[in-house]
């Protein structure tokens, strides 16, 4: 990983098409301004994690996995209902 120190107002160039400028830095937050062509997607890193997870989740769910889960949930819910009476 290349580590570069920058102050607010300073910028970094990636290739010939991408520029990242530090707009503000305070406390535990940094505000970044990003200039990149439309074709280059720029997203928070955790979005990619969620994309991968969504694709996995969209696969056909294991019937056995679901029925085991339902068993646990329905038992948990009927136990809670019992407590409320």
């Amino acid at each position: 990983m290349l580590v570069i120190r920058r102050r607010p107002g300073e910028a970094v160039l990636i290739g010939s098409d991408v520029e990242i400028e530090i707009l503000e830095a305070s406390g535990s937050h940094v505000k970044l301004g990003i200039r990149a062509p439309r074709e280059i997607p720029v997203v928070r890193k955790e979005i990619q994690l969620v994309e991968q997870q969504n694709r996995a989740a969209s696969q056909k769910a294991s019937a056995q996995g679901l029925s085991q889960l339902l068993h646990v949930l329905q038992r948990q819910n009927s136990h809670n209902t019992g407590k409320l009476r």
């Binding site: 928070r44 955790e46 979005i47 990619q48 994690l49 969620v50 994309e51 991968q52 997870q53 969504n54 694709r55 996995a56 989740a57 969209s58 696969q59 056909k60 769910a61 294991s62 056995q64 996995g65 679901l66 085991q68 889960l69 339902l70 646990v72 949930l73 329905q74 819910n77």
Partner: protein, 141 residues
């Protein structure tokens, strides 16, 4: 009434009033802008989020309150503005792969504004919760 084919439940009828708009889609499925939320008595408390555009696309979800009654929803300011005020239903998308424990995405719940029928998947920017929380285990880091 329109009909859609759900892989778990078979053909489902729905009315246009049941649909939920996802103006931003969800990560990995940016073109999916409309879903219906399907209840099945045999499968409760699970809820199926079924795409009206793509019959093979449906997600198994569970209200986060069923996984962690103390779950604290943290929306980014963009998400909060996009959802607006209303009554929210907060769901975790489940992944149930063959021979693996079922996991819930607690990092990025689907938040549905039941009043406006607009929804999005709200990806947290903190690391309090996991994208693959194994059901049955303690929730927070």
């Amino acid at each position: 009434m329109p009909l859609v084919q759900n892989t778990q439940l078979g053909p489902l009828e729905y009315s246009s009033g049941d649909t939920i708009a996802f103006p931003f889609g969800i990560p990995g499925f940016d073109q999916e802008h409309e879903f219906v939320l399907v209840h099945s008595v045999a499968h409760q408390p699970l809820l199926f989020l079924q795409s009206t555009r793509t019959p093979e696309l449906s997600f198994v979800t569970l209200p986060v309150a069923q996984i962690d009654p103390g779950y604290h929803l943290e929306l980014t300011s963009d998400d909060s503005a996009a959802l607006d005020h209303g009554e929210y239903l907060v769901l975790a998308i489940l992944t149930a792969a063959e021979n693996c424990p079922v996991t819930a995405n607690m990092l990025a719940p689907v938040v549905i504004n039941l009043t406006t029928r607009v929804a999005l998947q709200a990806v947290r920017s903190d690391s309090r919760y996991s994208h693959c929380h194994v059901l049955g285990e303690p929730v927070c880091s």
